[in-house]
């Protein structure tokens, strides 16, 4: 469900025995040995706009011929509606708030679970380490949807969990695996020299963890963890399957009442896009600041 994450990349074999001089201007795009001139670029942008226009026009005309009645004017009503004298959130905004609620709660839980898993993998007894590995492999080896069904059909009736929390918990458990990998990676990326230096100063194991190692992992961890939140928002659409009234489910409901499939799905997609893009922008900002802080 979260296609952004493959297995960790294998490091590439070194190309030469001795380190090479740094590549010139590594940030230049390799494809553009000679970039197009501004005039050509402007032409490209124009052509692109024209293509979009033609595509939209074709879709519109094609759907009209097939008898699809566009009703965009009805969409704003689903976002905000006027009740009495004031404004009230429409079903889409309600769904959006549920999506955010599920995602944020799941994020907090995922962080806690991820921390426990990472700690077990790094410092646990062999039994705990094995448990953590099994947790990670099982979650990675099965689809989120199947995990959600397992939670919904089995765990929920057992412990009397509502649908909202069932969905939240399933998402949290799923995402905790990635959070754990991020944390483990961050801890392991602290240079071994830091351990040696701290030990040489006579600091105790606990002090080293608390005062030396963990503080260094916080900054580099922020961007990937924020990336996990972005994935969570997207993955949370799956809870619509167990009738949690999130954005996706609200979309489905409106469509079954009004048959405005295209209008509603495009609106829903745009709302998700808004959430993820604004978060990504934030992440990029954090990343840049982190890099500057560490430089």
């Amino acid at each position: 469900m979260s296609p952004s994450r493959g297995p960790e990349r294998a490091s590439r074999p070194a190309l030469a025995r001795r380190p090479r001089p740094p590549e010139r201007y590594a940030d230049a795009r390799p494809g553009e040995i000679i970039a197009a001139s501004p005039g050509v670029a402007a032409l490209g942008a124009l052509g692109f706009a024209a293509t979009l226009f033609v595509l939209v026009w074709l879709a519109w005309r094609g759907s009209r011929d097939l008898g699809y009645a566009w009703q965009w004017y009805r969409v704003p009503h689903e976002i905000f509606r006027r009740v009495g004298g004031g404004w009230q959130a429409g079903p889409l905004v309600e769904g959006l708030l549920v999506t955010l609620g599920v995602s944020l709660r799941a994020m907090v839980l995922a962080l806690l679970l991820g921390l426990a898993t990472a700690a077990a993998r790094l410092a646990g007894t062999p039994f705990l380490r094995g448990l953590a590995r099994a947790h990670i492999e099982i979650i990675r080896g099965t689809p989120l949807l199947v995990q959600l069904y397992l939670f919904y059909f089995i765990l929920a009736p057992l412990v009397g969990l509502g649908r909202f929390w069932t969905g939240t918990l399933a998402l949290a458990v799923f995402e905790s695996v990635f959070a754990a990998e991020v944390m483990r990676g961050a801890i392991r990326s602290v240079a071994p020299g830091q351990w040696e230096a701290a030990r040489a100063l006579g600091l105790g194991e606990r002090t080293i963890w608390r005062r030396v190692i963990l503080p260094q992992t916080v900054l580099p961890m922020l961007p990937p963890l924020a990336g996990i939140l972005v994935s969570l928002i997207k993955d949370s659409a799956i809870v619509s399957v167990i009738s949690v009234f999130d954005l996706t489910n609200q979309g489905r409901n409106i469509i079954s009442d009004t048959f405005m499939s295209f209008e509603i799905w495009f609106t829903v997609a745009a709302l998700y896009l808004m959430m993820t893009l604004s978060l990504s922008t934030l992440v990029n900002g954090i990343e840049r600041r982190v890099r500057r802080l560490r430089a």
Binding site: P13, A14, A16, R18, R20, P21
Partner: protein, 257 residues
Amino acid sequence: MSGRGGESAPDPTAPAIAFERVSKWFGAHAALRGVSLAVAPGERVVVCGPSGSGKSTLIRCVNRLEAHDEGRILVEGIEVDDDPRRVRAIRREVGMVFQSFNLFPHLSVLENCILAPMRVRGMARAEAEELAMSYLARVRIPEQAEKLPHALSGGQQQRVAIARALCMRPRIMLFDEPTSALDPEMIKEVLDVIGELAETGMTMVCVTHEMGFARRLADRMVFMDAGEIVEAGPPERLFRAPEAPRLRDFLAQILRD
């Protein structure tokens, strides 16, 4: 010569390379400022100058790895411009050797050498391999033909890169600091190969800081600073009686050790 850049067949009687008031900017930074230079067929030119003075940019404009912004560059009478046919015609005749070798890491030494002859010149594989082996023998590593580049030492890799360029039978060779990335003990083996090549009468432009090598090999030495050619002439004279203060400083620094 016909109108602007019309020619696309090489003219061996024209200057091998002619720069006419060539300028090149990277954003607001001028890497070349109105450089003029003519390289005669068979001439061996060494370019030197401090880092960032535009030496690489100068020779990379010859085969259009960089596009110049002003002035004209003619290679054997063909104007270097945006026309891809002319650019490819020039690249076929001009070989280039890079500071960082740039061998293709996924291809064996032999495959590195036969790729361009087969794909660009349309040579048959057997013929290309025979040609490649003869050049690998000339750079003295025929026994490494089946290895992948990363299994070779830096000096060996650079000699393969030279052989690879020679397999296209270029009339002009460009070298961009061919020994700067090498350990000291490997510099000589590469310079020897380049020296032998110089004796065949190949037109060569070589950017290097190896002053002894420049003195032995070059017909002419060109000193660049801040995107300009500050002084040019026979290496003997430049070493003995440098006129420009900037060249004097440069020589003093580089010859100190």
